[in-house]
Subunit: 311 residues, 4 copies
Amino acid sequence: MNLSETSYKRGRTDLALEVSERFEQDNVEVKGVILKETYHKNKEIKVTTVTVENEQGAKVMGKPIGTYITIEAPKLSEEDESYHKPLSKEIAKYLKKLMGEKKSEHVLVVGLGNRDITPDALGPEVVDNLFVTRHLIREYGQEFKEHNKMENMSAIAPGVMGQTGMEVSEILRGIIRETKPELVIVIDALAARSMERLNTTIQITDTGISPGSGVGNNRKALNEEGLGVKVIAIGCPTVVDASTIVYDTMENFMSDKGFSEDEVNNFIKEVGDMTIKNMFVTPKNIDEAIKKTSYTISEALNSCFCESLTE
Amino acid sequence: MNLSETSYKRGRTDLALEVSERFEQDNVEVKGVILKETYHKNKEIKVTTVTVENEQGAKVMGKPIGTYITIEAPKLSEEDESYHKPLSKEIAKYLKKLMGEKKSEHVLVVGLGNRDITPDALGPEVVDNLFVTRHLIREYGQEFKEHNKMENMSAIAPGVMGQTGMEVSEILRGIIRETKPELVIVIDALAARSMERLNTTIQITDTGISPGSGVGNNRKALNEEGLGVKVIAIGCPTVVDASTIVYDTMENFMSDKGFSEDEVNNFIKEVGDMTIKNMFVTPKNIDEAIKKTSYTISEALNSCFCESLTE
Amino acid sequence: MNLSETSYKRGRTDLALEVSERFEQDNVEVKGVILKETYHKNKEIKVTTVTVENEQGAKVMGKPIGTYITIEAPKLSEEDESYHKPLSKEIAKYLKKLMGEKKSEHVLVVGLGNRDITPDALGPEVVDNLFVTRHLIREYGQEFKEHNKMENMSAIAPGVMGQTGMEVSEILRGIIRETKPELVIVIDALAARSMERLNTTIQITDTGISPGSGVGNNRKALNEEGLGVKVIAIGCPTVVDASTIVYDTMENFMSDKGFSEDEVNNFIKEVGDMTIKNMFVTPKNIDEAIKKTSYTISEALNSCFCESLTE
Amino acid sequence: MNLSETSYKRGRTDLALEVSERFEQDNVEVKGVILKETYHKNKEIKVTTVTVENEQGAKVMGKPIGTYITIEAPKLSEEDESYHKPLSKEIAKYLKKLMGEKKSEHVLVVGLGNRDITPDALGPEVVDNLFVTRHLIREYGQEFKEHNKMENMSAIAPGVMGQTGMEVSEILRGIIRETKPELVIVIDALAARSMERLNTTIQITDTGISPGSGVGNNRKALNEEGLGVKVIAIGCPTVVDASTIVYDTMENFMSDKGFSEDEVNNFIKEVGDMTIKNMFVTPKNIDEAIKKTSYTISEALNSCFCESLTE
């Protein structure tokens, strides 16, 4: 995730689901946004699809037009193998749904994040577990490809700007121009608003990743406009901004005690000093959580793009 | 650090300095506790020595009797090499002071913490950079030892209980019985109360590490009573408990707005749910900070126990 | 493995199977050594049990009295998940056989080797994937233990002497005295004589690990005599000594061309200079091989000592 | 290095110095190749410059036209800090020489190799220690750049083809097109012919890296023709091909014993089976060696492109 991005907004979240929940709380109906929930009771998995239909919905949500599928799986980071397989399959199913019917002959998977900071290492660790095939198909040919029921998969963990001095979008645009994938899948650790969501939720979206406001596009965005090819993003929240935790606690307390909105806002402005902006909150078992989640996501990708692996 | 230790106390801190500051704020004079400050202006380093003289002081401070030297060096985690050398020397100087005149012929350095969680990897990374000598001296003899002006140094990064299923104190007692060091130096990442202290402060103490209350001794303590040999602890705060940040913000706000102490305490009890207790706060550049700090501490130890390395 | 151990012997191997093959080649019958082979054709797994019955057998074999089970699985390091599960089960089966009927209430697993050298990282990586339980059972009690069908498992990756300055046997004796396991399982990367065996073979033995001659015991040995508890060793060859490769090629060539044994020996003495003694040979895909093998072994251990994990 | 490149040639070496030594041994004068040696006796450093002047020299050497500077420093991987600083300076000096007078305003440093295989991790570890500046200069502007006496430095460790499915040249061409550096510096672990050179030699060359024959150019080459910008390569040999060791021993022995060249060649053909081709030889202390060498090279680069760091 973009850890260095200072967030002036309160309650920053990368999860469309959390944004829509805020409106639910306030009992506001949002035009241009559709919610659909599905339960997989036996599998203890809940799937919510948030569809942002038009510019109006995008504006209210602060998220681009597109589909956001959220898989909530409370045991995602637990030590229970019989649980990870169905979850992998679920991720693969929704990934295929977003990819659409036209098969991509060449997929580039991008593991975003800094592998030296545990909660940000999700993307690089997914890439470490992938079974990349593009070079094998180039060497052994079409027959090999068909025999193994595989698509061309390439992958990279480009590092973060503090390590490379380059925007990830610059690196990816270059690689895409040279290797011409038809689909890019970016894997990223996300920031949630609520601590309960950490390492229990997977979000899959066909909007890619838009830094900053989330609406509008720029050269930094990892989406179709920025990269020139379709982009699907798979993310799992692993941190909460430190300021979010303070803001949320304060907000609840102050509105509870009858402070006015202005008073709340003033107080929050005071708190928002530089130090807390450079801090994040993460669980004490984040090492185990990242290990489990990255394995689950990479299995989903492997099964999606090399069917013979899971037969 | 003991990340798994749930802290019910508000404002947990491993820094004696921060405890004493609380009394200063409240303008309370603490009997049995002596403070001394030294400035190294050119070196931009400030050294504070907190001496807990007796049981009375220990009780008030919540820290065992002993000496706590705190080196504050705002640039500790910065990219400035000319700065790390003097800081290493400063650490070595105070370490020697606490070791006393009697030379230890054999020192065991212990890197506490979980190397898979970035802010907790300080201890293991210090051990990775050490120049251990015990096996060399055993092989090449006394002359080799004297020629290189080295003491016997052994080292271990035992991992945390979640990885080993054993208390660190169990592992260390065993190793100490077998290899008979005269001094144990434990290196650990600490929890501070204030975000400003993270990666800018080094604490050196001759009390070792006492989990839990900090006063009284038990089989888990990494100190002379628990391990049977003198223990010096070197630590650097790398995290703040997530609950501490919320508590401190709330406390300031509530006392500011005229809430009573009871109201404050009630509110804090409500906030103290399980989720936030399992969370910590750490800076977004923690990878760089750990790299720099561990290098600085290991250089201090290397120079202390193998003089020929730095000549 | 003990990488630092300079091997003056030609054709060093840690595999009992390879030693016995040498005698087969020479058509020598070895008294006190029994061989038994089993094929699992469908699973493409071959199991050979070498039993060294008495001192005579031990002397000829250069290996202590005991049972050496070798599982040959050519696809061990391949990317084929359906293959690793049966192999894990096979390892677990033979492990249980060597453990005997008396259940061990507390097992300590030791991951030997240097995690910073890829082919030597097998042991530490197995430990990284273990589900240790001793601390959980201590906290949650007997009922928890029985509900989850688990034994007490603790684990440590102690590092190598160059990192710690201590013999592994010193570290383990200490830990064993404090925590009193009834069984120690050591995991280690091994040296084979033949390149074909690398990453395709697992050896399980109830003799533990005896550095040096392999016969006789000393304070460095990781076996029942050295550690005071039963020791089972699980190993996988990941390197060949560089000198072994040269010796074997030369020996074949020279005997082929009719050189006398003396000439061969003289030549080999000349080759045996210091440089080659400090070198090892390992495959170019060693990173993938270690990942797969360590996963397979840790799954075997997890299923052995926590049955509920695999139900 | 390109570990996957099967080398059918005997005695593969990436060091121009070793190629030229072969001719010296045979007392052959090579037209188009100039050798110059310099000793830095106090610093225990020897520098040899091999200049391949024309196509004739390139053909005989099997290396492209250009300058190859070899710094031999026997203590490169030793634990002696007073030694690494002068060596860093020496590397920086020759690097500047090859860069020429025209200052590069933007340098891209590329750490080649697989970070999961210890002897191949040199490039990625150099990149880990770099102080990249491009993004800082973009944010803080020209004044900041001049104040700190820095050039734009960006960096990437792209991984190897087995991890990414892409040729490194594809990845780099893309990144170069997008970010437009004027100079690319590639860092790579090399294969030497002689074990004595491992981790004691640094080669700096303005020819970049040409996989395969070394002469002629193709889309895979990391040189000016392949990448479109000037390329300087810095390498350190960390492995010897396993076949090279066998070949060299055999060749010496056979010519010594009076075998004909045909007999030697026939034998070597027989030995050259697939297994040994997939193996490499590396020293048992390769972890320490990589740590020291990568640090030395990254310090050289940091001092070259950010002068204020070393003032």
